[in-house]
Structure formats: structure tokens, C-alpha cells
Subunit: 440 residues, 2 copies
């Protein structure tokens, strides 16, 4: 760490006085993997902070479609965007420069892609590499930094955390997660009120499918819909708990018996006792092919078949991670702070690090910015603690509530125009290429 600090030169001026002058370097920023409601808030934090330090940072160039933009030298000149447009990123969901699901080849097997990245960064005088993503991109970030140092073209690589899956280590939470959690908690409460109204003569069980292929963080957020003031019967199906058909049906039957209805929040990653995804079971199309995705209809069908109860089901899919209109204010602030800290870390000479959210207190919730070495972040997946799931496996514990509740605090409404959120679409002007073409 702290190796590739800003280069300072002492040069002579015409007046023969000596002055310390900073050699400005450009910055590269890219978005990686699935986007979120607040990843652009991190972009906003990076760009606004870099603009404020125009004395040491030159242009901020963004990768068009993430790291692919760097590999193919498809760079965007963010300097062509107005301050207002950059400020609007803070309230705009999705990835403004395009993101990519692209895993670089193993550096030991084929270092060509990594070498190309450094070649592009050299050609565009990139001194700072800000990579906004999850565990995979932290690994890429680390390797770029290591290779650049090895070949004598030092580059400060800072990873900006982002993932709705909340599975990055060290950081207390991941920007993007708090807003999904809020959306799922709000939606679960609203739909449960609806079902409660209808349950006398109509729907008695509502099934909501949420994201989370490996960990039940998002499903757990559904549990927040019920609290002491607003009691709602909720059954959560976590990927961490093997689905047991009989126990599940008994739980649903018991809740419907007591409350007249119940809501099931099921993680897309829910698995049966044999370890296969519930979503992959059962549904076939007209040609007998397995129908991909959709665990909600599978669970709803189990309820119908097992209990004969009337049901409705919903699959939130992209709606949940794009729902900037109901983003968590805490999450927006943290996403922005991570982008800002990334630039500040770079200017402080840090390298191969990721800013983190450090929770210093839960009651009241207090957090501050920390730093984690990328070597401890890359390829490490944080799972949900076992004591966050209630004993029967269908709910969340008080420890889980204490962890989740601060993350959904506050609303940060976007401006509206003609009844719709006024989200920004950037001009995304291309930077002139300087290198030969590179085939992916």
C-alpha cells in the first residue's frame, strides 16, 4: 500500500523561483456486474470529488460498458458532462456508463487482458483506477495494481464497493443493498396489507420472489415488514435453509389459521434438501423444456397443492434493484461516500484498497469510512450469520433486525417531472482512440 503516491516534481519557473508543482494524472472509472439503485451515486462521488481536486486529477474517463470499455479503448470523457448532469447521477439508478458481466482471463494463464488494460491506461495517462463492483472486480482491481507495479508503470487502484447481494467482506454493508432491502421491506408490507384485506373471500397466501442466489440477505429484509406496531405473518425461505415441504406447509397453514392469511418471501436461491434450486424444479414449457427462473410460481403451486389455498405471486426481479424512487437515504449517502473516499484515498497515496463502511454503533446507528486491503476483499464472500435466522428457519432474529434496520433508514426521493422521476441520461462522449484494436 501507499506506494504509488501522486508524483511531485520541483521545477524552475521563468522567474527563477522554485515551486512545487503536481503532475496531473487522469482517472479511470468503471462499473462492473449487476447495477443497483445507487451505483451512480458512487460515480457521482468519484467524479465530483475529482472535479474538486482538478489541481491534481485531470480528466475522469469512464469505461463504456465497464471493463470492456478499457479493454477495447472505448472510453467516455466525463468532462463533457455538466456539473448538473453529474449531480443528477446521485438520484439516477442503473449504470450511467454501462456495466458488464465480464470475467477477465486468469492472469497466470493468459496475462494479455491485464497487459492491455495497462497499455490503455498508459496511453491515456491514467494514474488512478477506480473500479466499482463486487468481489470479482475487487480481484481484477488488485491484479491490475500488482501487474502495473511489476512492470514499472505504477497505478493507484481503488475498489469502490457495490452489490445488492451484500456479500463483500470487511465492510459492514454494501452500497446497493440498503435500497433493495428497503424496497423489499416496503413492498412486503404493502402487499401483505392487500392480502389481509382480501383474505376472507379470496387470496390467502402471497408469495414474493426476491434476489439472492447464494445468501438470504435480501429475503431477510422482507422480515422487516413486520414489527411490533404492524404485525404481519411472514414466512421467509432462505437459500441457507434446505426447503422442507411438510414443515413449510405446516407453518403456512398455522399462520393462515391464526391471521387469516400469510406472506411468503422466497429467495431465488432457495434449495431443496438435495441442494437443487427450487426454481429449477417442476415448470416446463410446451415443449417439455425446463423453464428457467421463477421460484415464486413453484412455491405458490406447492401451497395450492398442499393446502388448497388461493394464492397470488410476484417476481420483483430488476424492479427491486432499480427502484431508486424508494432508495434508502442511508444507502445513497454511503454509496456517495464510498466514491468520494476512493478519490481521497488515491490522493492520500493509498493503493490496492477499498473504502469500507464501519459501523461504530447500532443504537444510535453511527458509521464512518474505513479502508480494507484488496488482498483481503478479493474473492471472499460474506455469508449471513447463522444467528440471523430464527430457530424454525422461517424468520429473522432480533440480531438480524438490529443489523438491517439502520440500512433502510431515510428516504431520498429523486426529483419528478411530469409525474415521473427525472433520471439523467449522460451524453457519454467518446474519447479519441490512440491504440490499435484489441479483440476480446
Amino acid at each position: 500500500m501507499d506506494k504509488g503516491q501522486t508524483i511531485r516534481l520541483t521545477i524552475s519557473t521563468r522567474q527563477e523561483e522554485t515551486k512545487t508543482t503536481v503532475v496531473k494524472r487522469n482517472a479511470f472509472y468503471a462499473q462492473s456486474g449487476g447495477v443497483t439503485a445507487v451505483i451512480n451515486a458512487s460515480a457521482c462521488g468519484v467524479i465530483e470529488t475529482a472535479r474538486a481536486r482538478g489541481d491534481v486529477i485531470g480528466a475522469v474517463l469512464a469505461g463504456r460498458n465497464g471493463i470492456i470499455g478499457a479493454l477495447t479503448e472505448n472510453l467516455i470523457d466525463t468532462g463533457r458532462e455538466s456539473d448538473a448532469a453529474i449531480a443528477a447521477l446521485r438520484h439516477t439508478p442503473s449504470g450511467a456508463f454501462g456495466s458488464a458481466r465480464y470475467k477477465l482471463k486468469d492472469i497466470d494463464q493468459d496475462p494479455r487482458e491485464y497487459e492491455r488494460l495497462i497499455e490503455v491506461f498508459k496511453a491515456h495517462d491514467i494514474g488512478y483506477f477506480f473500479y466499482n463492483g463486487g468481489g470479482d472486480s475487487a480481484d481484477t482491481c488488485l491484479k491490475v495494481s500488482q501487474l502495473s507495479e511489476k512492470i514499472g508503470l505504477p497505478l493507484q487502484a481503488i475498489h469502490v464497493p457495490k452489490t445488492v447481494d451484500n456479500d463483500l467482506p470487511i465492510t459492514d454493508s454494501c452500497p446497493g443493498f440498503g435500497s433493495v432491502a428497503k424496497y423489499i421491506a416496503v413492498s412486503t408490507r404493502e402487499a401483505s396489507f392487500d392480502v389481509r384485506s382480501m383474505s376472507k373471500t379470496s387470496t390467502k397466501v402471497f408469495v414474493l420472489e426476491v434476489m439472492g442466489r447464494h445468501a438470504g440477505w435480501i429475503a431477510a429484509a422482507g422480515g422487516l415488514a413486520s414489527d411490533a406496531a404492524t404485525e404481519i405473518p411472514i414466512v421467509i425461505l432462505f437459500p441457507e435453509v434446505a426447503f422442507d415441504r411438510e414443515r413449510f406447509l405446516a407453518k403456512v397453514a398455522s399462520l393462515v389459521d391464526t391471521f387469516g392469511y400469510c406472506t411468503v418471501v422466497v429467495s431465488e436461491g432457495a434449495k431443496g434438501p438435495d441442494g437443487t434450486f427450487l426454481a429449477d424444479q417442476g415448470l416446463k414449457d410446451a415443449f417439455g423444456h425446463a423453464q428457467l427462473g421463477g421460484v415464486a410460481p413453484v412455491v405458490a403451486d406447492i401451497v395450492r397443492e398442499g393446502l388448497g389455498l388461493k394464492y397470488h405471486w410476484s417476481v420483483a426481479d430488476y424492479l427491486q434493484r432499480a427502484a431508486r424512487h424508494i432508495a434508502s437515504k442511508t444507502d445513497v449517502e454511503q454509496a456517495y461516500a464510498m466514491g468520494k473516499a476512493a478519490v481521497e484515498f488515491a490522493l492520500a497515496g493509498k493503493n490496492s484498497v477499498m473504502p469500507t463502511i464501519v459501523r461504530t454503533s447500532t443504537h444510535p446507528y453511527i458509521w464512518e469510512v474505513g479502508a480494507a486491503p484488496l488482498s483481503e476483499v478479493a474473492n471472499v464472500e460474506k455469508m449471513m450469520p447463522a444467528d440471523y435466522i430464527s430457530e424454525d428457519g422461517f424468520g429473522i432474529t432480533q440480531a438480524c433486525r438490529d443489523y438491517l434496520t439502520p440500512l433502510i433508514q431515510g428516504e431520498d426521493y429523486p426529483p419528478y417531472k411530469d409525474g415521473l422521476p427525472d433520471y439523467v441520461t449522460l451524453k457519454n462522449v467518446a474519447v479519441r482512440k490512440r491504440l490499435p484494436e484489441f479483440r476480446l
Copy 2:
């Protein structure tokens, strides 16, 4: 109309002066059919207006679970709720007293249920019947009024319009619809931004299933996500337009070619050329039974099979009609106004009517409260005008935009507590029964 006005008696006081005294009658209010984000705002309008006129209206009794509450004499004394709780109904989605999908038996075949309603109303001194629902409940409302008059127990029956389907005649729009429309327009815009970000390497087509079994009003609202400032490639599948697989695939392919991605908004009621629901085609469970519901996965599968494009799909289901957190301010105000007008109509002596929303101007949007005789409302379904659908059948016209845009104007955020909307759950205290049991 104007028959059963408030009864005024001249009585003698102890001081032998004559005074005009009003005999107070109680009011009955019930919610019917699928609930909405704003039906409680109508309830709030009814109850607050009735409370303000405590000189002429006694108790407001609500039906527990809609009309079933009246039939079984399960009445709720809304007088036991605080002013604050009643005010909170304005920002609480769902049906606070419970709703019901219950169709009364044909009055000519079996008048028992209608007679029972009047018996219950008589037992509880009900002079005003406020019924909050769609076309079916308007018909019930009308028949109750006719029968009560016939047997000499006059009752003022006022229907309060409500339906997300927007299919009631005469009124320019239906409370409940504007908020669903806003939710679908906002969600379509947000998810489209997400897909746009991901389309280079991942999802290229996003399919969103929305409500609307018979008419494409809600699907049409998805079209609002795209406008002059924010161009989004959207394909709408209306129930009004027979699904043509080849034309659909050509349209999607062309948009993906131009924009790199596209969003499909499909109405649950979309039908094939043979008139069968697309949702009923194809999907079977593990036992070979047809899987009910879910046109989104069917359409997504058609895209995969026909074009080989990566897709995601979402089914909004109850989330869309319960989403009070993003309700249209216009819709909330109109829902409240309809409840308020219902009481004012009753006090003005009107009978067998429904307050309506009259649009007097589109640019700027101006509306006022009108009145429609129930005989012209009951069992009449308003379909979407043909000139609201674009020539190719996949989009909306300017006329449709002009109609829809005012309905989603304004936000009316509920208060939040601990990161979640602070929705009210009423005490719903039962009124003591006075009649023998009635079997449904």
C-alpha cells in the same frame, strides 16, 4: 334520484318554542372487490366528512369484509377510531375494513340477500349506504336502493368509484388507477435503465407483466416511461390486440438492433389469435398440470426461443396496486374527493348516484366532481378507445398520453417510521349484533 332526503321533523321543545330538528341516521360504508393504494383515502373522505356533519349523520358503521359484513351483521363501529387513525387512512393502502369478492345472487331469482341487507340496515338505523367498488358493486348499490324504496324503507345509496382497471363508465378515470399507472410507469423506466446498463454483455430484453384482464389501461401506462427527454424502446402487449408471434419477434429484434435492448410490458390479459390467454399456454408443473398465471415467463420464453436473446422477467402482481409509497397525488386527492362527495350528495338528498371525475381541461389538467345515475354505471364496462393504441399495436398514441399523463401527476408520500411507511391498522371494534344469524 333525490327521493330519500334527510328527514326533518318539527318538534316542540320544553320552552314551547318550535325548532327544526334533524333526525340523525347512521351510515354504512363497505369496500368491494380488489383493493387499491387509495381506496382507504375514499374511506377517509367518507368518514371525515360524515364526522364533520355529526349534526345529521350518526355513526358510520363499516362492513367487515365488505358486503359480507352487512349480510352477516358483522359491522365495525368506526366511531371507536381516533381522528388521527381515520386521517391515516388517507395514506394507507389496502382495504382497512376488509374487502370481499362476493357477488350477490340475482335479485329476481333469489331476493333473500337483498332483503337481508335492508333488514340489517333497518336494525342499525342506516339511512345512508356508501359502497366503494367497481361495476358489480354499483349494480348492488342500485338494487339495494330500488328494493328499499319498494318496501317503504328508503335508503340513500351512493356508490363510490374504485378500480385499478379504470373500466367504470362516465367518470373520466377511476380512483386507484392513477396510482397503479404511476407505479408501472416509474418501474418500467427504472427497470429499463437497468437493462440498458447491462445489455452489452447480459440481459437484452426485460418483460414486465402488469394487471388488466380485459383492458390494456395499465399496460398503456408502461408507455409513459418513455418520453421526449427519456427515450426508451418499449413494446406493449395489450389484451385488445391479438398476439402475433412473428410480428412481435420482429419488433423486439428491430428495437434491440437499434437500442441494444428493449422492454416488453405485457398485460396479464394478452391473448393469442385464437382468443385464449397467453398465460394459459405452455407452462406445466411437474405433474403436467397447466400452471395458472404468469404471462411474463411465457413471453420471455418466446423471446429466448425466437431470438436467442438473454432476458429477465418480472410479475408485479399485488405490488402494483398496493404501492401507496409511490401513489399519484392526483389519484389520492380524487379518491378522497369521491368519498367526500358521496356524503355531500347524500346530505343533498341524492340517491342511486355515483360521484364522478369530470375532466374539464387537459392542458392544464382541470377536473371537478360530477354525478352519474347508477342505472347508467351498473354493469357497463369502459374499454380503451381504439385510437389510444398505436398503428402497429405495440405502443400508445399521443391521445393516450394526453389522457394518462395528468393522472400520474404529483407524489403524496406517506409518513415513515424506522425506514418503513407508517400505515395504520384500525381497531375495527365490532358493533353488537341485533339480528338472528344469516347463512351465506
